[in-house]
Symmetry: D2
Subunit: 354 residues, 4 copies
């Protein structure tokens, strides 16, 4: 067994950062040497998060101020788990110091600084790095991740939408512009922000949409669909919040490129879709295409790095409906980042994730 | 003040029936004289539902077996809160005995026995009564309800979809066939059934679709849209379950009949929609069209008979998105039934509902 | 029917204040003429709380700054729903202006300014008013409330503990010093504070004690038990938080003053206890003593002003166990305050509360 | 690394069984060769529990009928995760066939068949095996577990109570008869039973006691306290249910054997308690004694085999209060059973549990 790889997390006090801590502390090939947090600097990791107290490695870790130069001396791979706009200022010095960087924020997900400005309302702070960044969706960009130095780990909603959609787009089975993605998320997706609307009593027994009609994640969803399609595409996306801690359930409505008027045509299209997924995903460790009968449920994926999804053809409307479930904090954030970490370190992709 | 109207509830042990009990016990113009339940026959109402114990009228009520002849002697208006297929067998004898009947099941909502057979999988037990039944959506069928003898109170999902949609259809503002309705419901919608999938631990921290792509409520949604449109229409509808007790949140995607390419065209369409709703609903006591800024939230309507909804035009996709929230057990069941009761008794429509 | 009584609420933006708004808007004998909130001053009531939008009276109400002189001109009875320490500064000018004041904070619940200082950590801001204040537990102090000008509405935990305990203390059936009260509360009890520990994700799937061993409510619980006992008494009290919006469930362990070694002795003590409660509470509209079989459940009292409780003798340990359930925001706050309001206005005590 | 130990689970369809499946599938030294379930016999493990689908070993597993002779041929260690009364009939044939048995039911926890009859209401089906059984609380009975053939894994409530209490009893610091244990449990503790009172809507927003005053777990709690005390002891125990999936929070009220009237005496007793726990538990991998400031919270232990607890002396009442948190399905069931498995196989005790 090789020497473990030294890692650090900048911004380890939010929900994604906390999950990363857990995954890296349990990872047999990773050595977590530093965690930073402005809010908690100076406190022991296990004082802030008592649940890590029984993991042997946790006792040596204290939160520090985020100092890229210091961190670069200690760690080969650095995870950034900070709000967008903040992460990018750490990337440059870390890359210059020879670290490889896995960023969980939105800062390096878009190829275009203009699109960033349109969706995030400010100029991109490090536009020169955009070319260098790899969109860290392993099932699509595995080879680029392997050799990447700056990995932009995808958003939670985009992960739940792109994995079921992209193979169908690539094979020309659906009309990209017909896509309507309707998502439900748990409240960890809103982050550990002390906002009145996120108090328990305000969220429990509440169901609500938000960010209608132009949520920021649309930008990366459309970017990746456009790349797969070969054409600039605009889609519809609506997120909602429901009172669970974790989980995203997405239902996607699409128009197939072929119609199906008879049972036979429908069966033929079903077979075609099954083949496309079989070809794309049959050896993926974290994709579960539900074959028959049942529908996805977030409770099947909570705490795991798996996406499960299925599809239904509706002979009455001619539409193809896709439904997917992920844990927004694992496959939608920390777990997917560790999957990229495994790839760029040359480890088996599911190391520390099963 | 007039003499209160005598009422009875057949099937008062489910969630809708329980809500009806509460509403009628507190209703200043209703006298609840009988409640039936096969399961609880012989038990005091307040033994089965301790929460009613402090309402003075509750002490005299015991559950009895459902005997239509006996009930018809005691009560002028009878509510049926039973599963579909069961309710219809009580309607005939009650109507023959001169009662007015408000049915909360699906049995009399469809005008066509064929459509019933297609969606409910069995022959309609009382097809001759279908002509006589009025679809009990007060904001649409108020006049027919006033003189009706058999009111078919709408389903919860249809209520959340039809009220925002119908005025737009009638005014020709949207293409009916473009409608995609995506709904989220709390678990009371699934009924008080001892099914393993409805246990607390199976539902808490779970988000899931069901009934895809042909839920039974589609039949009445399409029926009412088709009537408003003047043409047979097929739409898309997907229900989901989320861990709340009460509430339905529905997001509806539609294509307007006019495009809007400039800000000016968009503003003009917005004004037109506002006018349509103003005309249709400005004096409705239970419809709240959210004017600006905020979006619907089920917590704003829990425990009340109100539907709140709003709309958004998306200039990027050209779609009109509608979002609505109701309490599935009140406006989606018991409250709406009492609203019809008020209409057919000639009471002020919000009596006992504010 | 008499003229409605004009009322105002100072501090209507917290959970108790919001409940008061609802109760007074629906109260047939109250006219809510003003609501104040520093945070929301200038906004319409129904913009801050959309759920009130369908109540006809809500449209005329806007939040204002809390100005006691202005309010005293408009309203005869003023409710204070503010944090402790803040409420007391409004009481004096309102009383001087001839208003009657119902305070939901802790400021006037204690008879001793010293005890206030011990438990609240600061000098009492208006000690001269303490003599004048009446502890607003209607079932115990009904007559004093009737003629009171300053009513100190009890805390939520004290309400759930005192109502089952006091009759037994008065009749000498239990040893006061043996009392251990273990309570579970929903998160509305913690108030609408933007504190990180109150975020949905931090509270959902969490069970935790707090305020051990000297929660502030101990002071009023011990005061009232001591008065009933005729001796200064110290008891044990531990509150816990559980992920529900509303509700307090309290389990109280006590030592009876008589032992029961045989079945006959136990039955005899059971009868005695039943008699004591019968005598104390049989005509109380909001007390439900569960007679047999079942145990209390907060879901039986949510949204109502009822306390339900029961007792069990344990022949193995010789203890008497009491268990009670209330809605902390209704019987534990707003509802109880309205009950006092009804008493001091001479209305039927359950007006607007059934 | 040694050859993995072959294992099987009889009764793998309940919540404890499901957790055992997960722990054993991920355990590096265990080979799970069979799972049984009458209800699911013939179905693939991953069809019943989709969440196991991505674990490589899950694909080979199908549920079978529970046949002890067949299972004994395949597996060296057999876990029984069935209701009490059922488990015991499998123990005899499995032990005769040379298997080691870890039983998660209550069948072998009590040393006395009479106490079993008193608390479980029926004769013990295999009283001869009681002498042979070891109470599987590793922190107390580690040596006996190592050589045991029949391990009776403790109940969830007893685990949360005994671990904080036993060291204090052994050192004579508290009066055993003073113990009052008040526990809060999530609904997985009630099992996967299709009972109307366990439906989501009946449990959500509900707080309730049950099993008052003589819950079955009292029998094993009293047995173990009596052994530690050297005298037969009777204690008080009240369980409650709160709407979380997992977790038990227990608050225990006790009378110390020494009084503490001054700050100095209190500090001295605090030091003594700290020493006792230090001596008993300082090298335990799954016990976290909270040193200062904070209180236990079930969210710190969910998904882990850790118990966390703390204590407080109350100078006002002279009592010592203990508060503990566990995951009822891990440390309270499946995790503790695997901890015993590790001991009897000679593995490091935390193998597969960190």
């Amino acid at each position: 067994m090789n020497q473990p790889v030294s890692t650090a997390i900048i911004g380890a006090s939010g929900y994604s950062g906390e999950e990363l801590v857990q995954l890296l502390l349990k990872h047999p090939q990773a050595d977590l040497v530093a965690v930073t947090s402005r809010q908690h600097a100076g406190r022991k990791l296990s004082d802030v998060f008592p649940k890590f107290g029984h993991l042997p490695q946790s006792s040596k870790l204290c939160f520090s101020e985020p100092n890229p130069q210091e961190l670069a001396k200690k760690a080969k791979v650095i995870f950034l788990a900070m709000p967008h706009g903040t992460a990018s200022q750490y990337a440059r010095p870390l890359l210059d110091a020879g670290c490889r960087v896995i960023d969980l924020s939105a800062d390096f997900r878009l190829r275009s600084a203009n699109v960033y400005r349109e969706f995030y309302g400010e100029n991109h702070p490090e536009p020169e790095l955009l070319d260098q960044a790899v969109y860290g969706l392993p099932e699509i960009y595995r080879d680029s991740i392997r050799n990447g130095s700056l990995i932009a780990s995808p958003g939670c909603y985009p992960t739940s939408i792109l994995l079921p959609i992209l193979p169908l787009i690539r094979e020309g089975l659906i009309q990209a512009s017909s896509i309507i993605a309707d998502s439900l998320s748990g409240f960890s997706g809103a982050g550990r922000k002390t906002d009145q609307s996120l108090l328990f009593v305000e969220c429990n027994e509440s169901l609500r949409p938000y960010g209608v009609p132009k949520h920021r994640h649309l930008s990366e969803i459309e970017q990746e669909i456009s790349i797969a399609e070969g054409n600039t595409t605009t889609i519809q996306f609506t997120p909602h919040l429901a009172p669970v801690n974790r989980g995203i359930l997405t239902t996607i409505y699409t128009a197939p490129t072929t119609t199906f008027h008879s049972d036979q045509e429908m069966e033929s299209l079903n077979l075609k879709i099954a083949e496309v997924y079989q070809k794309a995903y049959s050896s993926e460790p974290f994709i579960r295409v539900i074959q028959k009968g049942s529908l996805p449920d977030t409770k099947n994926v909570i705490g795991s790095n798996v996406i499960e999804f299925c599809w239904r053809l509706d002979p009455r409307t001619g539409r193809l409906i896709l439904m997917s479930a992920i844990d927004n904090i694992v496959k939608g954030a920390g777990g997917q980042a560790v999957q990229s970490f495994n790839i760029l370190c040359g480890f088996s992709e599911s190391t520390g994730l099963l």
